[in-house]
């Protein structure tokens, strides 16, 4: 009886470990998928006003108002590198360097600036060619602003 129990426990442990190994050997996918150069294609409010049928694009001035505490409103191109550094840049040559990290199964993107501040974005969707972020959000509530980026490189 005891022997049977030990064998069952070993089998269960082995199965769980193998499953864990399989899961974690593939879990880095979002970190791989995000690497590359992305270009912002839209900034919209996630929730419309009652009278609006189509989501309204947020203009440049408004971006400054709602995201002046974040660095992202100043840049349109995001380059995620394998070494967890990110370059936010404009065609004019203006750029900002920071560190990026993904948390909670890739659902949270954090940008760590050189001055020690951290910006947190919710990754709404990460596809091969499209990245959708929500910002100004806490962990659970949906963000109010939706930024869509397309992969260009």
């Amino acid at each position: 009886m005891k022997r049977k129990m030990v064998i069952s426990a070993c089998i269960a442990l082995l199965t769980l470990s193998s499953f864990g190994y399989y899961v974690f050997s593939h879990s880095a996918y979002p970190e791989v998928a995000i690497v590359g150069e992305w270009k912002e294609v839209s900034w919209v409010y996630d929730r419309n006003n009652v009278d609006e049928k189509v989501k309204q694009e947020i203009g440049t001035d408004e971006r400054v108002d709602i995201a002046n505490h974040l660095v992202i409103h100043q840049f349109e191109n995001w380059t995620f590198r394998k070494n967890y550094s990110i370059k936010l840049h404009e065609q004019t040559g203006k750029e900002h360097q920071a560190k990026w990290r993904l948390k909670d199964r890739g659902r949270i993107l954090t940008l760590l600036n050189d001055d020690g501040t951290t910006e947190v974005y919710s990754v709404e969707s990460l596809k091969k060619n499209e990245l959708v972020l929500h910002f100004d959000t806490d962990v659970h509530a949906r963000g109010i602003v939706k930024i869509t980026l397309k992969k260009i490189n």
Partner: protein, 272 residues
């Protein structure tokens, strides 16, 4: 706290167990939320996320959630298995093993987090897995030894139960029911302790980061030691007392025998 099992436990036993483990659960949950942006002491959210991932067809992310749920499940399974296979003689040891494993999990997360964690996604997911396993161990342990009276890691059920109990206590006939009143007090204490643990963790986590897990481990070790002392010191003291009494009695008997023999020989000599 850990010695007695099921119905032989008193309200005070369950209260102490509930308060202590709820503080731990609250601390761990807030720590994991701040450090990993992920909850580790409750599974309801993970089930919702699992359903969402399945609906979205994100298979690998779904597997991670499945693995997390499985680990919590395994922790509870292991705890209860150890308890139901224990005998009266080794009850304390069997009840302590889940707590020792939990401490080892926290120490691992603390050391790894402090010295090796580079914040990659895989590392984050593995550390969350370890914490979920430890919370499963704790929930299984508390629920098993308290005959399902104490469950400290999920507050949805607790809030519902507390609300039901409180509504029952609005009637006088239920207020006379001591068991019902005790259960209500227990649930309120667990809820308060969970919150206190969470607040405390939230206050110190930005200063101590992963070292919060050493603090939790030390507190748990303290409780284990206290329980060990309460279980075994009286046993050893009594054993020593018993031995001393036996020795004294034996000496007395030997003296009596000696005296009797002496008296006997004196009498026989005087007769002669």
């Amino acid at each position: 706290m850990l010695r007695r099992f099921s119905n032989s436990r008193t309200f005070q036993d369950n209260l102490r167990l509930g308060v202590f483990t709820a503080i731990i659960a609250g601390m761990v949950n807030v720590a994991s939320l701040v450090l990993f942006y992920s909850f580790t002491s409750n599974l309801t959210g993970h089930f919702a996320i699992l359903a969402q991932e399945i609906a979205d067809g994100k298979w690998f992310q779904m597997l991670v959630v499945v693995f997390w749920i499985l680990l919590f499940f395994s922790g509870s399974f292991l705890s209860n298995n150890l308890i139901i296979n224990s005998t009266k003689k080794n009850a304390f040891v069997s009840h302590s093993i889940p707590m020792v494993l939990e401490i080892l999990c926290f120490v691992f997360v603390g050391i790894y987090g402090q010295f090796f964690y580079t914040e990659t996604l895989t590392q984050t997911e593995i550390l969350v897995s370890v914490l979920l396993f430890s919370m499963g161990l704790q929930n299984g342990l508390t629920a098993s030894i308290s005959n399902f009276q104490v469950k400290t890691t999920h507050l949805t059920g607790l809030t519902t139960d507390l609300a039901i109990h409180l509504s029952m206590l609005t009637k006088k006939k239920y207020r006379m029911n001591a068991q019902l009143v005790e259960k209500t007090k227990l649930m309120a204490a667990i809820m308060g302790s969970y919150l206190i643990g969470g607040i405390f963790s939230g206050l110190i986590i930005h200063y101590v980061q992963f070292q919060v897990f050493y603090f939790i481990s030390a507190a748990m070790l303290g409780v284990l030691t206290y329980d060990f002392a309460k279980t075994y010191i009286p046993f050893f003291v009594n054993k020593k007392k018993h031995e001393t009494t036996l020795k004294l009695n034996l000496e007395k008997i030997q003296d009596t025998i000696k005296n009797t023999t002496k008296k006997g020989s004196v009498l026989s000599e005087s007769k002669n």
